[in-house]
């Protein structure tokens, strides 16, 4: 009685078609609420600026980009800056390969908060060299600046990460921060494969032998 439709469903369910595996760089936007994480993401994704502020919960985007001549995919996870969601950030941060830690140059508090984000990321990823950019956004609002470039740069140096000022509104440096981060991620990945050329390769050989046997 029940088998008819289930079989039909099965026929509809084509198994995954083998597509060429593409490199995906997983970027996570972190930073206090309202600093412009979503604005940056949307500007990068769709070349548009959204004036309205709608707090984010957790959104993800995927886009094909050409990084130094190589077609790759960027996977952006735009997280919630608002404090309500702080407790569950760990779960999100784990999936990231690189972080854009955004603050608004017009808001000192958001700059202070970057330290907490940094700390949390390092704790969750357990990696001091995780690809990471400190991003001072809303650079177009120079007249409202509360965070000096020096201040920010100093902190970036302290963390050994680049500092970039952006404007989601004017698109200034928007592509740059994403591409720079992707490059960092890419180099970290290459580094990792290079590092694992020794031991892991042996493992692989072993595995192959096993299959041969």
């Amino acid at each position: 009685m029940f088998s008819c439709w289930t079989r039909r469903q099965k026929a509809n369910m084509s198994k995954a078609k083998a597509t060429q595996p593409q490199v995906i760089h997983k970027v996570i936007m972190v930073g206090s609420g309202g600093v412009g994480k979503s604005a940056l993401t949307l500007q990068f994704m769709y070349d548009e600026f959204v004036e309205d502020y709608e707090p984010t919960k957790a959104d993800s985007y995927r886009k094909k980009v050409v990084l130094d001549g190589e077609e790759v995919q960027i996977d952006i996870l735009d997280t919630a800056g608002q404090e309500d969601y702080a407790a569950i950030r760990d779960n999100y941060f784990r999936s990231g390969e690189g972080f854009l830690c955004v603050f608004s140059i017009t808001e000192q508090e958001s700059f202070q908060a970057t330290a907490d984000f940094r700390e949390q990321i390092l704790r969750v990823k357990n990696d001091d060299n995780i690809p990471f950019l400190l991003v001072g956004n809303k650079a177009d609002l120079e007249e409202k600046r509360q965070v000096t470039v020096d201040e920010a740069q100093q902190r970036a140096q302290q963390w050994s990460v680049p500092y970039v000022e952006t404007s989601a509104k004017t698109r200034a440096n928007v592509d740059k921060v994403f591409y720079d981060l992707m490059r960092e991620i890419r180099s970290r990945k290459m580094e990792a494969t290079r590092q694992s050329n020794g031991k892991p390769k042996k493992k692989k050989e072993k595995r192959r032998k096993c299959t041969l046997l």
Partner: protein
């Protein structure tokens, strides 16, 4: 074609038809007819017969045609006769057909029922989609009655998902939301599999869809993730893949595709809210736990108990490894489906067979989760089966009762096997009540009360008896049910007696009719003793009030009548004018049980008054009626009735004796008195004797009244 040929053809045709009819018709009727014998002989060849005929010339042919025509008429006639002969058979067949018709009706009813059952089942499989829409309602209910709702939800899980018993065993766990989703590859977004997600109030259960599975189990448990360790991401852009969202459960990250934007939105909202609720609950729990920990720290807990609990858990885990082996047998795997099949086909016996078989098997199984889960699935079906059986017994107005007892018997037997004897008993008796009611309604009131009561008894008591026999057979070892039957029988009797009273006391029935009716019922009650049911006392009790009232009323009327007629009494002997009329009268009274022949004089005179003879006739008949209704409870009433009536008559006679007006008739009056007080009373005594009832001393005293009157006469002044 010439004329001869045509005639020949016609004859062949007629002969053929007749042969056919003749062989059907009674052979006896045909025997005397020579032609018929030839025609109906076994090896008869019409062509041969006709060609021979043709050789004998036209005239012969014509006469033959006539003969054949006559035979044809005869055959038709005899066929008709045969129809009448078999008339009773026709009637019976017609009846049979009407019964068949009734059964067909029931069959079609069953079919529609089955159809609705099927559509219900279809709906059930759509529950998931429904739950989406009704989610807030479900939640509210869950808060109102969490226990109930939990059980319901979890049963639903067990029905759908294989291997999720551990999930359902957590107390307080509830289903919040569930639905079909498609899992996509998190890198390539290609479809991986169909899944069904069950959002519980504390975790998310993922189940993969099982292809080629029949029956309700459609998914296999894939994983359970605690809500606080997973993160939900709204995928706003995944290229061409619409309505997707991610669930991050480290180290996994999965992407699911909903079938609509609305469904995705719902998932995201409900997930978020449930996560929040869970967090709030956890916070509360933590605070409570901290409080408890403080208290426990104060009252140092013995560590031994903790250890014990641990080893118990270990053991059950070891068993869990074995458990699946128990359930691997093919028949067990297919059993839930087979059960569904049996229930759908209304093969109740088959279904109960399966249930018994599996229960027997499960007794020997360890109580491990997989077995419990399996048992829960079986139990769920047993519930369905029980409901099906119960509805079989339920009396619905549109359902024909024909074939009812058979179906009921079947259902009862199976219900008892399922251990639902109490319900079976209740429904069975209700069913029988309906049947009795229906059958009683079929009786047409023909006018004669006795006849109606006889019919009523003829329907009611055999039905009661049948039910009793049926009941004893069905509930043999269920003694608890026996009292239910007795209570039921008493209730039915009450309904019966109500009808009885309406018919018997409601109309203007005379006492003879009433006595006859009561007698019929009593006889029927006695027959019930055959099945060990004694309702005699119940019947008497139910009747008592009405009967007593009736007897009292009758007595009052009787006494009134005596007074009335007494006033009119002229104390003349009956004069029937002719010997013939006198004999006719004697005949009538002798039918009533009185012999007046010794009192006849001068051919047409009887030396009793009309009043006396009337009194004797009615009084004797009353005594007979009263005594035919005799019960020890009525003894006093009957005696008093007779005593009072006699007293009234004695008063009448005594008064007239004292009257100077009738001083000349004293001898005649005393003759009447003697007949009434000695002969009639003697007859009444005989009635008592016939009924095996002791003659009451009060009536014996009445006898003495004659002597009293005699001595009274002596004291009276002569005329």
């Amino acid at each position: 074609m010439d004329e001869k040929d045509e005639v020949r053809h016609n004859v062949i045709f007629v002969v053929r038809t007749i042969t056919l009819q003749a062989s059907k018709a009674s052979k006896v009727a045909m025997a005397q007819h020579g032609l018929a014998r030839v025609l109906s002989s076994q090896g008869f060849d019409p062509d041969n017969f006709v060609s021979k005929l043709c050789q004998s010339g036209e005239e012969e042919l014509m006469t033959m045609k006539q003969k054949v025509q006559m035979l044809s008429d005869d055959t038709a006639q005899s066929l008709k006769k045969n129809v009448y002969k078999n008339y009773s058979q026709f009637i019976e067949t017609a009846k049979e057909i009407s019964i068949l018709e009734g059964e067909m009706y029931q069959l079609s009813h069953m079919l529609t029922e089955q159809k609705s059952l099927m559509s219900n089942m279809m709906e059930m499989s759509l529950v998931s989609e429904r739950a989406v829409v009704e989610e807030p309602v479900v939640k509210e209910e869950a808060e109102e009655n969490p226990e109930e709702e939990t059980r319901k939800n979890l049963a639903f899980l067990l029905e759908k998902v294989e291997g999720c018993s551990s999930v359902t065993e957590v107390p307080g766990r509830q289903l919040v939301h569930n639905g079909d989703l498609v899992e996509l590859d998190s890198e390539t977004f290609n479809q991986i599999q169909r899944v069904h997600c069950f959002l519980l109030n504390d975790s998310l259960m993922l189940a993969s869809w099982l292809p080629n599975r029949r029956g309700p189990v459609r998914y296999r448990f894939q994983g359970l993730y605690e809500l606080d360790s997973l993160a939900v991401v709204n995928v706003r852009d995944a290229g061409p893949h619409k309505n997707t969202f991610k669930i991050l459960m480290f180290p996994d990250s999965k992407i699911y595709q909903a079938d609509s934007a609305k469904s995705k939105r719902q998932w995201l909202d409900i997930l978020e809210e449930t996560k929040k609720n869970k967090a709030a609950r956890d916070k509360q729990k933590k605070e409570a736990a901290m409080l408890l920990a403080e208290q426990q720290a104060a009252a140092a807990l013995s560590p031994v108990e903790d250890k014990k609990v641990l080893t118990d858990e270990d053991e059950s885990e070891a068993l869990a490894a074995m458990e699946t082996d128990f359930l691997n047998a093919d028949w067990l795997q297919e059993l839930p489906e087979d059960l569904d099949m049996c229930i759908a086909q209304r093969d109740f016996e088959g279904a109960v067979d399966l249930v018994e078989r599996v229960n027997e098997f499960l007794v020997s199984c360890p109580k491990v989760p997989a077995v419990k889960e399996f048992k829960a699935r079986i139990d769920h079906r047993v519930k369905q089966l029980t409901e099906g059986l119960m509805s079989e017994l339920q009396v619905s107005p549109e359902r024909s009762l024909r074939g009812g007892p058979r179906a009921a018997r079947r259902a009862v037997a199976q219900l008892i096997r399922l251990g639902k004897s109490a319900q079976a008993c209740d429904l069975f008796l209700k069913n029988r009540s309906a049947i009795i009611k229906y059958n009683i309604r079929q009786i047409k009131f023909e006018g004669a009360t006795t006849l109606y009561i006889r019919c009523l008894c003829g329907v009611f008591f055999p039905n009661l008896m049948d039910t009793g026999r049926e009941f004893l057979k069905a509930f043999q070892e269920h003694f608890g049910c026996m009292s239910a039957f007795v209570v039921w029988a008493k209730q039915e009797l009450q309904t019966f007696v109500d009808t009885f009273k309406r018919q018997v006391f409601g109309g203007k029935s005379n006492m003879t009719t009433i006595a006859e009716c009561i007698h019929t019922v009593r006889q029927s009650c006695m027959e019930l003793h055959a099945i060990g049911l004694d309702l005699d006392c119940c019947f008497e009790e139910m009747l008592e009030e009405n009967l007593e009232k009736y007897i009292n009323e009758t007595r009052e009327q009787f006494v009134e009548g005596i007074k009335y007629r007494g006033a009119e009494d002229k104390w003349r002997p009956m004069n029937h004018l002719s010997n013939k009329d006198c004999n006719k009268f004697l005949e009538e009274t002798s039918v009533a049980g009185l012999d007046l022949s010794d009192l006849v004089y001068d051919d047409c005179f009887i030396s009793l008054t009309m009043n006396t003879s009337h009194f004797c006739k009615t009084c004797l008949s009353l005594a007979r009626d009263l005594l035919s209704m005799y019960t020890p409870q009525l003894d006093v009433l009957i005696t008093n009735t007779l005593v009072e009536i006699f007293a009234a008559q004695v008063v009448h006679m005594e008064q007239t004796l004292k009257l100077q007006e009738f001083a000349g008739e004293r001898d005649f009056i005393m003759k009447n008195a003697q007949y009434i007080l000695e002969v009639l009373m003697g007859k009444i005594e005989q009635v008592y004797k016939d009924k095996n009832v002791d003659f009451p001393p009060q009536l014996e005293k009445v006898n003495a009244e004659y002597r009293r009157l005699k001595s009274l006469v002596k004291t009276l002044p002569a005329s």
